[in-house]
């Protein structure tokens, strides 16, 4: 398995990746509290972006409603903790199952009924919106008044109930991000990974080569949904409050997918690079505006939108592919050497 993980990866890339990991592990000792919260946010988006990337980047199925799965994971774990004091780790399998099931139902209906492309994307938005309004009216989970997870005691880190300091949350999300990267790497090099990419590139051709495209698209949706709901559990216990209006809204879904799209769709490092860029940019803007003394709500977002526009127009494949070339990490394109 380890051989599969590192095969094909240029040595320099491996070294850079390990250096980055070392820096991230050491970061809480070096940075202040504010930067730590920024790093947590970056890793959260890197993890969630990786999860979304399975569906769109690997299998080519555009979901614009992934906030749905974040919300389902968040609400499942938070509600069970709130009502029964259940540890999120115990709720985890249920949260994954709920999200996976909802993803499966949506996939089953969409793929069986031939809903594809733009229509599929809009279906995912519609289901997320449906959930948003539904949760707004579901009093057991607090409805529109919100669900509050009993607040953490910052002096004591309790990994079992996920109550603790930002530093603990930082290491949890770092571990998740690393895990997601490894899982995605293994997936991409597996039968499923090859089949997903084939479906993404040309579904008819994939079928002609013996790929059961329906089944593999379902795998992608269910896996992506389940992985995303894990991000939701983190979200719920990190922020301690959940409002349907904030959790399920389309803005959240878009936030999740900016990273992988800006970073480089379908690549493994893209979601991570994208998360650093997008969140870093947003926070840097925020700081810069504060320094200059502009405190207009919306000003940051306008600039953010402009940056997004420029990146999308200038780098159609995202930042990572050209960056990879710049770092001299491109996979070899010729020669018969068996990798």
């Amino acid at each position: 398995m380890i051989a599969t993980l590192v095969a094909d990866v240029p040595r320099r890339g491996l070294v850079l990746l390990l250096l980055l990991l070392a820096a991230l592990v050491a970061a809480p000792l070096l940075v202040n509290d504010y930067l730590l919260t920024v790093l947590i946010l970056i890793l959260y988006f890197a993890y969630a972006g990786q999860a979304w990337n399975i569906m769109m980047g690997f299998a080519g199925q555009l979901s614009l409603g992934h906030a749905l799965y974040v919300g389902l994971g968040a609400y499942t774990a938070a509600a069970l903790f709130f009502h029964f004091g259940l540890s999120p780790w115990i709720s985890l399998p249920l949260a994954l199952a709920v999200s996976g099931l909802v993803g499966a139902i949506m996939g089953l209906l969409a793929f069986r009924f031939g809903v594809a492309g733009v229509y599929f994307a809009i279906l995912t938005i519609a289901v997320a919106e449906f959930a948003r309004i539904g949760f707004d009216h579901w009093s057991w989970v607090g409805g529109s008044a919100g669900l509050f997870v009993p607040v953490a005691n910052y002096t004591q880190n309790d990994l079992w109930t996920l109550r603790g300091s930002p530093r603990m949350f930082y290491y949890v999300i770092l571990a998740l991000t690393v895990l997601a990267l490894l899982v995605c790497r293994l997936l991409l090099k597996s039968r499923a990974g090859y089949y997903w990419q084939a479906i993404r590139e040309d579904e008819d051709a994939a079928r002609a080569l013996g790929v059961n495209t329906f089944r593999y698209k379902m795998y992608a949706v269910v896996l992506s949904a389940a992985m995303t709901s894990l991000a939701g559990i983190f979200f719920a216990f990190y922020y301690n409050n959940l409002f349907p209006e904030q959790v399920f809204t389309i803005g959240r879904s878009i936030e999740l997918i900016l990273g992988p799209i800006i970073g480089g769709l379908g690549t493994l490092i893209g979601p991570i690079v994208g998360a650093f860029l997008i969140t870093g940019l947003a926070e840097a803007l925020h700081e810069a505006m504060l320094r200059i003394g502009i405190d207009v709500p919306g000003a940051k977002q306008v600039f953010y939108g402009v940056c997004l526009l420029v990146v999308v127009m200038a780098l159609p494949h995202g930042v990572w592919p050209p960056l990879r070339r710049l770092l001299g990490l491109d996979p070899k394109t010729s020669g018969k050497g068996k990798a």
Partner: protein, 290 residues
Amino acid sequence: MPAEIYLNVAVNGLLTGLVYGLMALGLSVIFGVVRVVNFAHGEMMALAMYATVAAFTSLGLDPFLMLVPVAAALFVLGYALQAGVINPFINRPEHSQFMLLVAVAIILVNIQLIVFGPDARSVQTSYSFDSFQIGKLIVDASKVYAAATALLIAGALFAFFRFTILGKAIRACADNYAGALVVGLDVKRLYALTFGIGAACVGAAGVMLSLVIDVTPSLGPAYTLLAFVIVITGGLGSMPGALLGGVLVGLTEALAGLFYTPSAKGMFAFGLLVLVLLFRPQGILGKKLG
């Protein structure tokens, strides 16, 4: 509940639905020809509403006077957007175009937030509280005017695409991109015109809608979604479908508000969309997918 309440609510829903239909018509025209989903559609409409409100509050201009100037301004915006930003993206994958328009939407929403603030704004005309009474049926005068105008504009648009050379040329682009190129049509210019026309539609719908509802910056994203629901229900790319979808969604919202609770009306609209997608993915009046 007495029967006339249902009737009242239904008629009001139908009238609002016609304005929705005009808004969605813009989206449908753009998608039908340019094959780009305008993710900034609601934001463009909110822009038109703000322009109307601003003209009314600062200059005292009646919204109906603003109909042509605002539609023209949005035409220019749409034309520029297509010519300057979207045309280079025509052959890019869908998600790429989507990101582009999401960026435009983010910019538009936040400019509105900066300029007008987060509070709701509205137009209070002299006829704001007028109503017509026909038997036991009472309808808001504003809604009647708005719906009638929406129908008139939609009719003009049908005529434009059906009878003018330019309209026919645009339809040719939609039917056969390569063919249109071969016969020497300037496809990119026609695309820009189409986006302009779609934007003008949503602009006019915004002016009319400002008579009926308040405008806030958060209205934009919500109405982008609503426009999707409408055009997919009616059939993406079908002009009569957009009007029909608008009416259906208007009715669904109004009746859901009456029978259940107004805050959940969106759920029914989205429920309608999911049903349509699953059982008639091309929409009620749409052409077969493929």
